[in-house]
């Protein structure tokens, strides 16, 4: 199968959907001729014109609000939010307006809108361009949250997001834009709420989101050499969450680590761990561990920044201790 980058996969997904549905359009900062700072959207303005690939001023709440109104009245906007860190700027429009229209109207208004943004540290971008803020929006009923872990997922999830009748926030890892993965030439979509078992295993379940799937896979390789069989699962969407697949795996392995790049406290790792504890308690041989980003603003200096995110070695070390029974009475 051909291999393309995550960036090309996103571009293909959007182009295919824009050809399919003339009400779909993109708006955001420098999305047209510039194709975004990461060049993800390069070439789209040439095919679809400036009417459907719209450069906006640097006014995130303004253009996100505009997308909400366009979505409510019959269009399907794709909002490009250049950095996930800018979510703080659009919280009212996204969480008070987009997320609640369907409910507040008793099901009469809908907001079929995609916000594509990013996450991920270790790009040496400092505290305001490195955050992974998906937990903020995952907390809000009415939003769906997709987290592609490779080019394959990025394309299939984006196509589903564009066709979904709800506001969907997609977080791409900005360090993965140039990472290649096999992506079929033929059309495909990835349904929301279906986790992907990336690797089968029997001793421990490693649940990773976005680039933490790669971290989990690398950890699984380390562990394999030591005779520990790790199962790696990618939920692909955290809202909706495929709880069944996660529970089934944990009931089998009796141990789990949840790995995510958001801050560990009050985050995705805690939510997933808690669900596993509530619903698979008697199957567990050890506490479910959380591994998130450190609870510090992301520092600039490489020697500091690299310490803040989970690593394969760190995951493997925790897995080893869980499997050895060392952490049963860790508290």
């Amino acid at each position: 199968m051909r291999e393309i980058t995550l960036s090309q996969a996103v571009n293909e997904a959007i182009a295919e959907e824009m050809r399919r549905d003339p009400t779909t359009f993109i708006l955001g900062e420098d999305v047209a001729e510039a194709g975004t700072p990461f060049k993800v959207l390069s070439g789209l303005v040439e095919e679809f014109g400036t009417e459907r690939v719209i450069d906006t001023p640097i006014s995130e709440p303004g253009f996100l609000g505009i997308a909400v109104g366009a979505a409510m009245t019959g269009a399907r906007p794709i909002v490009d939010l250049m950095f996930g860190d800018f979510l703080y700027l659009v919280m009212d429009q996204l969480c008070n307006q987009a997320a609640k229209q369907q409910y507040m109207s008793g099901g009469k208004l809908s907001v079929p809108m995609v916000v594509r943004t990013n996450l991920g540290a270790t790009r040496r971008s400092g505290a305001q361009h490195s955050q992974s803020l998906h937990a903020l929006v995952a907390h809000i009923p009415g939003l769906k949250i997709a987290m592609p872990s490779s080019a394959y997922e990025a394309k299939g999830l984006m196509k589903t997001a564009i066709r979904d009748n709800n506001p969907v926030v997609i977080f791409e890892d900005k360090l993965m834009y140039q990472d290649k993965a096999p992506v079929p030439e033929e059309e495909y979509l990835i349904p929301f709420g279906e986790a992907n078992i990336k690797r089968k295993g029997t001793d421990i379940t490693l649940i990773g989101t976005s680039s933490m799937v790669q971290v989990a896979e690398a950890a699984a390789k380390i562990l394999e050499a030591e005779g520990i069989s790790a199962e790696v699962i990618d939920p692909r969407t955290i809202v909706p969450l495929d709880e069944e697949t996660l529970l089934k795996s944990v009931r089998k392995t009796s141990r789990a680590i949840v790995i995510d790049e958001g801050h560990q406290s009050y985050g995705i790792t805690g939510e997933i761990a808690s669900r596993l504890n509530e619903k698979a308690f008697y199957h567990l041989d050890a506490p479910v561990l959380r591994m998130g980003a450190m609870d510090v603003p992301i520092p600039f200096s490489p020697v500091l920044e690299d310490l803040t995110v989970p690593t394969p070695e760190g995951v493997a070390e925790n897995a080893r201790r869980l499997c050895a029974g060392e952490m049963i009475h860790a508290a």
């Binding site: 709440p61 909400v68 009245t73 109207s105 008793g106 979904d164």
Partner: protein
């Protein structure tokens, strides 16, 4: 290049294109229907029959009616926390409105919205909004959609003077002006931003802010339904001809407090001031006088209309009081919209 035309406040409009008698009568009855709705809503609050609280539109009727009577059914509006007037003016029914106010299943939002989110969505009302200035993006986006999909509908964004302090307004006016969008920003200046005089929260001129973006801005007497309607008709037509956006500042007054519970308000405005607006500038009394003077209706006919509307409101209140609440199973319905599974398949 700023183009600026201001109509002077307080002048009775000389309608360039006269409307039919029926259209004038409809403007009158729509204003009375708003007043009557609010009188009953206030009573429901005072008698503790309405959950929560509400923000009365009484006194501002000529604004909503003057503008909405210039719109087609396919045109859109966005509304505010003080939204009952816009809702009635854009074509809503009493029964569903009172049901919504009381949290009943037959309400426009199945009881999930309440006073601050009330809207008859089937007539282009994109919802009342409880965040001050929260719908400015939405209105502008509706206009962008109209332009992109080559439709001819226009969107009116209602907001109060208090909302001019929100930064979102300036972001979206900038884009609306850059992209020539068919949107009209209708600023209902009732003189008070909650419990504070507008002059204490707004520096300089409100219309000048729109003009800074090259948006033509107008100031009009919001107590004169004919003046509001005439200006609105012109601007709506110009929006359809791709000449938008526009900005209107409508000088008006709210008879009640910021909300129904804001009873003692002499610390921010005098009873004398309130009496002056009610007695000398009431939009319904003024228009009623004009209708009689012009021979469009007799005093008796007007009294009969008033009585009929009061009866209609009374019946609707009784209907809503007797109507069922939503089933408790509805609490987690409508969090997400359905998506047809067929569209989520390859080739879908």
């Amino acid at each position: 290049m700023t183009s600026k035309t201001k109509t002077k406040a307080g002048t009775k409009a000389k309608t360039s294109q006269s409307l039919s008698k029926d259209e004038y009568i409809r403007m009158y009855t729509q204003m009375v229907r708003i007043r009557s709705f609010e009188d009953n809503a206030n009573q429901l609050y005072l008698s503790a029959k309405m959950p929560g609280l509400t923000h009365m539109y009484s006194g501002e009727e000529a604004v909503a009616v003057g503008i909405c009577e210039a719109l087609k059914d396919s045109d859109r509006i966005t509304s505010t926390h003080r939204g009952h007037g816009h809702c009635v003016a854009k074509g809503a029914n009493y029964n569903e409105m009172f049901c919504e106010l009381l949290g009943k299943k037959e309400g426009y939002c199945r009881g999930k919205g309440g006073s601050m989110h009330i809207a008859d969505q089937s007539h282009g009302n994109l919802g009342a909004n409880a965040i001050v200035g929260g719908s400015m993006g939405m209105a502008t986006g509706s206009a962008l959609r109209s332009k992109l999909l080559k439709k001819d509908d226009v969107t009116v964004c209602f907001f109060g003077d208090g909302a001019t302090a929100q930064g979102l307004l300036y972001e979206v006016m900038n884009m609306a002006a850059l992209w020539h969008l068919p949107v009209i920003y209708a600023c209902e200046n009732n003189g008070y931003s909650e419990y504070t005089k507008t002059e204490e929260i707004a520096a300089g001129s409100i219309t000048a802010r729109a003009e800074a973006f090259g948006i033509e801005a107008f100031q009009v007497d919001g107590q004169d339904v004919l003046a509001v309607n005439e200006l609105s008709r012109k601007l709506v037509e110009r929006c359809r001809n791709n000449e938008g956006p526009f900005f209107i500042e409508l000088l008006t007054y709210r008879y009640h407090g910021h909300h129904v519970g804001d009873i003692n308000r002499e610390y921010y405005r005098s009873k004398q001031e309130e009496a002056d607006w009610k007695e000398n500038r009431d939009p319904i009394i003024r228009f009623r006088g004009w209708l009689v003077e012009q021979g469009h209706a007799t005093e008796e006919e007007i009294e009969a209309m008033n009585k009929e509307i009061k009866e209609e409101a009374k019946k609707a209140v009784a209907y809503a009081e007797a109507a069922p609440y939503p089933d408790t199973s509805e609490v987690d319905m409508h969090v997400y919209a359905e998506t047809d599974p067929a569209t989520l398949r390859v080739g879908g």
